[in-house]
Subunit: 338 residues, 2 copies
């Protein structure tokens, strides 16, 4: 069995997450038991939710245990199998974590899924046709539920969730406006992802200024919003909501480090009769097949071609992850392990 390199959570950040909170270690891969398969990971997914797991306090689901392999989605290839349902060479997606190899109890439902790479590149199963894509799908279709002609917005528009959201919203006849950081990302959101407009939040010193830009980009107001960030962006969007607008809250990345960020004017919930709903996509597994089918179709037909930022080698994962939290990535952040 091969030697396996892993990255574990070495310490919990008190405020900002740093490289020192992670540690690399090398272990021997145990022999497979009946029902298990050994997966060689080709790509590791880095996602904002991981920052929440690093805290001890109540957050998404369970905290990441200390000195254990960091949680994370992975795609790869079966290299050894003691399970009749998987054979060597199968391409699979799972939650292998930050390591080069994963030993998977493939009998447990949901642990490992075989995927078809004829029309969809393997890495996309971690992004557009994976958890981030389904996240966009859930928020848009199950919470915002727009009708054709609605104006819908999304923060972190150039990212994995935002890019899928744009394609899904355009497919429903919406005007879709993104919010992203920097002129390069905004140009990409408009020119490559097909958004109707995109606002660079870095050009705005406060939420009132950002809100004015939103007014121009959304002349008919905002009917639905998908929140990946929180803070100033959410405050600015709320000021531009139409009555009965729906806000899907998927991320509050702006508040992960340190003190909670307030919402400036919650009275708008009442004034505009808003519905604001938080969700975690892994709690709605029954809808994944339907979502993945639509997302796979969009990719196969060239309507969703998201960009990826790929860091090379397991040892690059912590820096790539910290960059992601600061918005340094461009599109889906991956780590290539082979």
């Amino acid at each position: 069995m091969p030697t396996n390199r892993q990255i574990v959570l070495a310490a919990r950040p008190a405020a900002e997450a740093k490289a020192e909170h992670f540690a690399l270690r090398e272990v021997e891969t145990p022999a497979l038991k009946a029902g298990q398969v050994l997966v060689r990971h080709h790509y590791l997914s880095l996602d904002p939710y991981m920052r929440g797991r690093m805290n001890e306090s109540k957050s998404y689901a369970q905290p990441q245990p200390l000195n254990e392999v960091m949680i994370g989605g992975t795609v790869g290839e079966v290299v050894a199998s003691e399970n009749p349902k998987f054979k060597v060479g199968d391409q699979v997606v799972g939650m292998g974590g930050w390591q080069e190899y994963g030993v998977v109890d493939a009998e447990v439902p949901g642990m490992l899924r075989r995927v078809d790479t004829t029309h969809v590149p393997l890495s996309y199963y971690l992004g557009a046709v994976g958890m981030p894509g389904v996240t966009a799908w859930y928020g848009l279709t199950q919470i915002i539920a727009p009708k054709a002609g609605d104006t819908v917005t999304v923060s972190a528009a150039s990212g994995a969730v935002g890019s899928a959201y744009g394609a899904l919203a355009k497919a429903r006849g919406c005007r879709v406006v993104g919010i992203a950081g920097g002129p390069e990302k905004c140009a990409y959101v408009i020119n490559e992802l097909g958004f109707d407009d995109c606002i660079d939040y870095r050009e705005h010193k406060d939420y009132l200024s950002l809100s004015k830009a939103l007014k121009q980009a959304c002349p008919n107001g905002i009917d639905g919003h998908f929140e990946n960030v929180g803070g100033m962006v959410l405050d600015a969007v709320l000021l531009r909501t139409n009555e009965f607008a729906r806000i899907a809250v998927c991320g509050m990345i702006a508040g992960y480090d340190g003190a909670p960020l307030p919402m400036v004017n919650p009275a708008l919930i009442l004034v505009n009769r808003l519905k604001i709903e938080g969700f975690i996509v892994s709690e709605h597994m029954e809808l994944w097949p339907q979502a993945l089918e639509e997302l796979g179709g969009l990719v196969a037909h060239g309507k969703l071609r998201p960009r990826e930022t790929v860091a090379q080698g397991l040892e690059s994962a912590p820096e790539a992850f910290l960059g992601l939290l600061k918005g340094k990535n461009f599109g889906k952040q991956l780590v290539k392990l082979v």
Copy 2:
């Protein structure tokens, strides 16, 4: 035709509403046209939403026009009629405003409704079996939608909305915990309204302290909350919500005067996968008959006997209203005009 006394909005408050923003005037009652009826108002309803209407800025529906009769619900008796559907002596509920007499175009649907006072006192049609009661019903049944055994909370628990909410929640097998201002109100909420517990927010200097008290009163957490106030109370409640809790936002009275009050920790929307929804009960008229039937039944069977605070005479309305905004009333605030 009788001389009519009216109270009009004389000026818009820049911050705190004061008596000087109102003016009393006397006018002649015009002769009735075909289809109209003249109603002598017995009671005028005072409600927190009126404060929102006094502002020029976007708030609930339209602002109250300057130098026109203040908007408000009224119950009274028909004293003259040019409408075949109403006869002198009919007891009616309508939106007559802050005046002693109202000339009503009784042909217009929803302007005037005849009520039966056999089992329900006339004044209750402004409270428990009127707009405040339906407000509680809508938030509880349409947004919170609790199941038996759920813990549900409400701010301003001793008021017209809160008292109806308590009876409706108990009828559904919930544990219901109120939040109110002062020991006398809390004792009333528990002993007379039948709540399981009530917390005096005045005993708490900040939301963290109030939240600790909520933890004791709600040992299984909070599954649903009805917000009449906003600010510190909402912040405290959010900290104690269970996953998938529902928050019906009906009032943000705490923020009506002056600067908006922030929500301290909106990330809880995500962490606990909350649904927060604002509503205005007048936008859901199709549900009123169903709600009024249940509320009338609770009153007729002695399960809802809300207290009223009655100011005497039209000229007392401004002070009574300003007192309501400061929580000086006890139960439904009315002005008796006859």
